[in-house]
């Protein structure tokens, strides 16, 4: 089985591989030497499990995400998505279309309606395929909860990484989709007012 490292993040190594004869991604959560073994194992196992679970739920409610193929204790296999990270496109100075931002907003609304907070909702975790369709990846920090705050953080993370115009399209579409958008947006402004964000350059 050919296997090739394609990304090495803070948390996991991501490989392109084949499994069940499918073009696949293996996300392998390697031990971290800095933390004690028990904590290390708990974190790696919990994240692998919750990533599999929320990716699966996201798929079932119609959000474009990779398919879960196989779950092991610290390893997750999903289908490979041919695409480019939204963050890379932004770095190359390419403009992100309004339709695309609206779609991303709609997907976040759908996730929140299903009780999922993504936990790391940034342009680095949105892949854009050849047709210009967005895919949401990396549910490793996600949670299933009714916490308004966790959901407001998803908005905050995206807001901090994109320009105002893109955010306007994103949040408009999000608001028309997410049933609790009023409360979540109110919490977002409250978080921003807590002082740590309002002076951020």
């Amino acid at each position: 089985m050919a296997i090739r490292l394609i990304a090495k993040g803070a948390e996991a190594e991501v490989y392109r591989t084949r499994i069940f004869d499918i073009d696949a991604i293996l996300k392998d959560r390697k031990p971290k030497a800095y933390r004690i073994r028990e904590l290390d194992e708990n974190i790696r196992a919990a994240r692998t499990k919750s990533e599999a679970k929320t990716t699966y739920i996201a798929d079932s409610i119609g959000v474009r995400v990779p398919n879960v193929l196989l779950v092991k204790r610290y390893q997750l296999y999903t289908t490979y998505i041919e695409g480019t990270r939204m963050s890379s496109l932004m770095q190359q100075g390419k403009s992100i279309g309004n339709r695309l931002m609206s779609k991303v907003g709609k997907y976040l609304g759908m996730l929140h309606n299903a009780g999922i907070a993504h936990g790391d909702f940034t342009p680095a975790n949105i892949l854009i395929d050849a047709k210009g369709e967005p895919w949401v990846i990396d549910f490793g920090l996600s949670s299933i909860s009714d916490s308004i705050e966790e959901k407001a953080f998803d908005l905050l993370l995206m807001k901090r990484s994109i320009d105002c115009k893109s955010y306007a399209y994103f949040v408009e579409s999000y608001s028309s989709k997410a049933s609790a958008s009023k409360a979540i947006l109110a919490r977002l402004s409250e978080i921003e007012k807590r002082g740590r964000y309002n002076e951020r350059a």
Binding site: A10, E11, Y34, L39, N42, G119, D120, R196, R200, A201
Partner: protein, 326 residues
């Protein structure tokens, strides 16, 4: 010609003298911490009473006099209003009496700059961890040269979290190090772990740990609290390091005195092939040398000195609001 710096943002009054990056003096006087917390006016009063003697001590240590000083820096913020005012007023008095250039300095930037200076790093990623603050910062040129905050605590600083726990556990100050002592020999019990990208939160962990003091060995709780909190900081720091590709990592601020935290961060840096650095403890605790260092950098980079009337304090002065002119 040398530059003098006065730090008075919290319970430490510190005075430092620097000449061309060389530290000639770093003297301090600390308000004795009690478990009742501190009353700002009392601390400010303590600083007022000690400032003259400490100034003389600084000059004696440096072996120079006020005639050899060309600029003065003071901590503008962040910090406690009445305490900050003592340094501010002292600096203004000296500046007008001896015609010195005067520079308001950001406390967080000063903590980073002194560690950067002593390690000779050019463009590090910095983890600033103190009582009231916990932030991950790095210099960026957009839209002006400044320390951008890539990640930070959503609620309280990791130092204050350790202090609150220590008080609840009936430990004695200095709290950070007494938690570390209690943790020796402890075993791991699971605790809440909150990292969001490069940000993190500590109140959930604090509440849980204090609650767990009932029914668990205090040593196990202290050990697990420390391991969990420091692992959170390391994870967020590692994410920033991976994202930004910086070649060096430094830790600074009061909690950087922790051996365990330094050991963990060194491991993070090693695994990314980055250099790791920190300053000796006297510069991680609040000190005047770091204020003098930054004032000297401001002065030598040609930054206009502040007019005496315009020099004030700002309790919530953020690191990312400071333009880096050097």
């Amino acid at each position: 010609m040398a530059v003098i710096g006065i730090e008075s943002s919290a319970h430490t009054l510190g005075i430092g003298i620097i000449e061309n990056g060389k530290i000639l003096a770093n003297v301090k006087r600390m308000y004795p911490i009690s478990d009742k917390g501190m009353i700002p006016m009392r601390v400010a009063d303590f600083h007022v009473k000690g400032v003259k003697k400490l100034l003389l001590e600084a000059f004696a240590t440096a072996g120079i006099g006020i005639d050899n000083i060309e600029a003065i820096g003071y901590t503008m913020g962040p910090g406690i209003g009445p305490c900050l005012s003592v340094g501010n007023i002292t600096a203004k008095t000296l500046a007008s009496k001896y015609r010195l250039k005067i520079y308001p300095v950001n406390h967080a930037v000063a903590h980073i700059e002194i560690a950067k200076h002593l390690n000779k790093f050019s463009d590090p990623l910095a983890l600033y961890v103190s009582g009231g603050n916990s932030q991950i910062l790095g210099i960026t040129d957009e839209p002006f040269k400044h320390y951008r905050v890539y990640g930070e605590t959503f609620d309280i600083g990791v130092g204050n979290m350790l202090d609150n726990f220590a008080r609840a556990a009936g430990l004695k100050p200095a709290w950070g190090s007494s938690v570390a002592k209690l943790a020796i020999g402890g075993r791991y019990v699971p605790m809440p772990y909150t990292v969001k990208g490069m940000d993190f939160a500590f109140t959930g962990l604090q509440t849980k740990a204090i609650g767990m003091l009932k029914g668990n060995s205090a040593s196990d709780v202290a050990f697990s609290l420390q391991e969990t909190a420091f692992s959170m900081l390391c994870e967020a720091t590692e994410r920033a390091l991976a994202l930004l590709g910086k070649r060096s990592l430094l830790v600074c601020g009061g909690v950087a005195q922790s051996q365990r935290l330094k050991e963990m961060l060194r491991s993070v840096a090693d695994s990314h092939g980055a250099k790791f650095g920190f300053a000796p403890d006297q510069y991680n605790a609040d000190n005047g040398a770091m204020i003098a260092l930054v004032a000297e950098k401001m002065f030598r980079s040609g930054k206009r000195s502040c007019s005496i009337e315009a020099c004030g304090v700002r309790q919530d002065y953020r690191a990312d609001a400071v333009e880096i002119t050097w």
